[in-house]
Symmetry: C2
Subunit: 198 residues, 2 copies
């Protein structure tokens, strides 16, 4: 008789099944929902379903969208000569937030991970090659700086080399605001390797 | 054009409006929902509404319940001589998880906080006094060990003193598994004050 309400227990289970939410946080969230005005809960509930029903993947760049092609692929203001390759839709949001990139994207849907059985055929690699017409001049590889991201970067670089397209990768080095003293060896090594002339 | 889907943006907003969920976590949760099977999202969505529609407060102890009185108040197996007073329904769950308490509960719905304008009339204090019939022999005050909880404990102790009922409070001291060396002064002071004979 730990939970006096089965419905609350179910909601706690639902929240706890989401990534990065533990049991205690799930409990706090469920109690918060109980205190929310009913109409707000109805809105929340509706948006959850809406996301499943309205959101799809763009048939060109495989970013999330509600209209196909997505607003970035369809835009006349974007530079169609550059494609930034990322792992997930969240990475598109991260790059867009910099307001420094005006090209197009290509969302792979993950990174190569032989241990997890994820090979090139599980990612949107073929779909990237299809996009490489004469207009495209540069491919920026913006994958995560971890083992899977590295593997994918090297794989794509090798794959794209025979084509006459510039392939670049985003810089790895010390994050802004960090302390050189506390940087790990791998990061500092990359920062030294990637030094630029002043 | 940071978000290419308005619905995803709305869902991120919804998640981010919940306590202890930041913007980045909200983004990760929204992407997780997008990848969940539709029927699971429908269940989640339904349970949210169910919580608002089915869950009420017990008219005796003010814990959350789906039937009034709640399963604890209605149980014949619980010891009706002891009432454990707590701040929130979550605290009932915490005490129940110990499997050490077999009495009844009384959920105040918060703690006294003059700064936030929360006085005794905002809590279920009157409703506690109504429950104190001849059968009740002990009131255990299990409020949070912070300023508001202390204030409420002292207030209730003073209020209950004239009645011939034992009023106790849960012990404050070193948590199990902690280090005496790293205990803060206030906790160690309470632990010394609350020492027990061996």
């Amino acid at each position: 008789m730990i939970y006096t309400s089965e419905t609350i227990e179910q909601l706690i289970e639902e929240f706890a099944s989401l990534p990065s939410i533990g049991r205690k946080t799930a409990q706090r969230l469920a109690m918060h929902v109980l205190k929310m005005p009913r109409e707000e809960v109805v809105t929340f509930s509706k948006i959850l379903i809406d996301v499943k029903d309205k959101v799809r993947y763009c048939s060109i760049c495989f970013n999330i969208t509600e209209s196909d092609p997505c607003s970035i692929c369809a835009s006349q203001k974007r530079n169609k000569k550059i494609i930034c390759v990322v792992e997930e839709p969240n990475d598109v949001i991260a790059v867009e937030k910099t307001h420094e990139f005006n090209g197009l994207y290509h969302v792979l849907g993950g990174a190569l991970s032989p241990l997890d059985g994820i090979g090139p055929e599980d990612l949107k690699v073929k779909e990237l090659l299809v996009r490489l017409n004469d207009e495209v001049q540069e491919i920026i590889l913006a994958l995560n700086p971890n083992v899977e991201g590295e593997t994918t970067t090297l794989y794509l670089a090798k794959l794209l080399k025979p084509l006459s397209i510039n392939v670049t990768r985003i810089a790895r080095g010390l994050p802004i605001g960090s302390d050189l003293e506390f940087a790990d060896e791998a990061t500092l090594t990359r920062a030294l390797e990637g030094r630029v002339a002043l």
